[in-house]
């Protein structure tokens, strides 16, 4: 959604809009909450931010001209999350996305399977990744989004979704195999 769309989007919404919104957009409330939860790493904050995002989506609903309602909603959720992060945890956003990944030790599938079997550990490893790595993983692995959807939600050019995912997965593998279960490198 572009800035100008948002500007002119404030429409009068009637019972018909409401019914259409409930039918098309509200079924994706779980997706909205899940994305916010992994971007913000806090259930309480995610509930507030997801609520804000969904109501904002409703106010701009006339600007939605059919198509992929989930991607449309998630795009608004993502933007709302980043605005929130900028305001409340600016430090978290300072990690650059284009970080080079040299000499990544190739971890064996067995080691990964063992490390990944622990939900707590997997969740912690995912949370240590910068938000921009986290979001592509959540969208792909938990939400099952296609590259095209990921591109439209995250505003990454479609041609770079694949490499973004590649780097995110490498980062997660490293976070999983490098962290022993005792140490809990959790920021914040």
């Amino acid at each position: 959604m572009s800035g100008s769309d948002q500007g002119k989007g404030l429409d009068v919404l009637g019972a018909q809009d409401r019914a259409r919104f409930e039918q098309l957009v509200l079924p994706h409330l779980d997706a909205a909450f899940n994305l916010a939860r992994w971007l913000l790493r806090s259930r309480a904050d995610s509930e507030d931010v997801a609520q804000e995002a969904v109501l904002r989506a409703y106010r701009f609903f006339r600007g939605f001209h059919g198509g992929d309602a989930r991607a449309w909603l998630l795009q608004i959720v993502r933007n709302t999350c980043y605005t929130w992060l900028e305001k409340n945890r600016p430090v978290e956003l300072m990690t650059e996305f284009d970080e080079e990944l040299h000499q990544q030790p190739s971890s064996s599938p067995e080691a990964l399977a063992i490390a990944g079997d622990n939900r707590e550990r997997l969740s912690r490893a995912l949370e240590t990744l910068p938000p921009r790595f986290r979001e592509v993983l959540v969208l792909r692995e938990l939400e099952g989004c296609s590259y095209k959807e990921i591109a439209s939600i995250t505003a990454i050019p479609i041609g770079t979704v694949m490499s973004a995912l590649a780097r995110a997965r490498q980062r997660l593998q490293r976070a999983l195999t490098n962290s022993s279960p005792q140490e809990a490198p959790r920021e914040l």
């Binding site: 009068v12 809009d17 909205a32 190739s106 990944g116 792909r140 999983l176």
Partner: protein, 250 residues
């Protein structure tokens, strides 16, 4: 890591995002590249861990409820523009309403004029309560928690009863101001609809439950009982709301 394929194309392959030509090309490469073979296995292991470990977090019911309340507010607040020809219909309705009121005047007079607040004030208070975070000051389904909470906050003690068994669970209470007076607001729900019951003391004699008021899609029932003035308002159908009014009246 040296193999360029491992870095990117492998992921497109795994995600089923390569076109047929590129996928076949990668498969040929895979036959001779140990690095890609290992990498593919470990990325697959990672993916299945992610999917197996139920990291997906669904929206809590409280979020669903708040979103619906927010949608209610956003939908009701903005009335659609009325095309010119509709004014004729409006004028006709006013005539009809005037005629009907003329005949039923004594009955309605009691209902409309005796409440110490106007319909607009009542609806405002109700809509205000539906804004995020405004519904309850004390959120509890336990009448023995809600009732003592009002102690010392108001110059009267509102009767607080839970009607979960009857389909109207109490979800909490709050202080509100209606027409400049402090009032107790008891909050009930019924099939996801929020009902506000405003309670304030009165010196006027008891009445029965007045016929429902209706405006902007909201219905309300008003009555006085044992020194208290009650008004229950919601977007529920009048018949459902009357049920709660009758429970409260007993």
């Amino acid at each position: 890591m040296s193999c360029e394929y491992t870095r990117t194309v492998l992921h497109g392959y795994l995600d089923g995002e390569l076109d047929a030509t590129r996928a076949a090309e990668f498969e040929r490469h895979l036959e001779n590249c140990r690095e890609c073979e290992n990498s593919l296995a470990s990325v697959e292991a990672l993916r299945s861990s992610l999917q197996r470990s139920s990291l997906y977090e669904s929206a809590p019911p409280s979020l669903r409820k708040k979103v619906r309340a927010g949608l209610d507010v956003a939908t009701v607040r903005e009335a659609p523009e009325i095309p010119a020809w509709r004014w004729l219909a409006v004028a006709a309705s006013i005539l009809i309403v005037a005629a009907v009121s003329w005949y039923s005047w004594p009955r309605f007079q009691d209902s409309a004029s005796s409440a110490p607040f106007s319909a607009a004030e009542l609806i405002d208070a109700h809509v205000r309560s539906l804004q995020p975070g405004h519904l309850t000051d004390v959120a509890s389904t336990d009448q023995h928690t809600v009732k003592p909470w009002f102690d010392g906050k108001l110059a009267f003690v509102p009767p607080v009863k839970d009607f979960s068994d009857e389909g109207f669970p109490l979800i909490g209470g709050r202080l509100d101001v209606l027409a400049g007076q402090n009032v107790a607001a008891l909050v009930y729900t019924h099939r996801k609809h929020v009902i506000n019951v405003f309670v304030l003391p009165t010196r006027e004699p008891d009445t029965s439950i007045h016929p429902p008021g209706l405006r902007q899609g909201y219905q309300w029932f008003h009555w006085r009982h044992q020194g208290m003035e009650y008004c229950a308002i919601s977007d529920l159908a009048a018949s459902d709301l009357r049920e709660l009014a009758q429970l409260l009246y007993q």
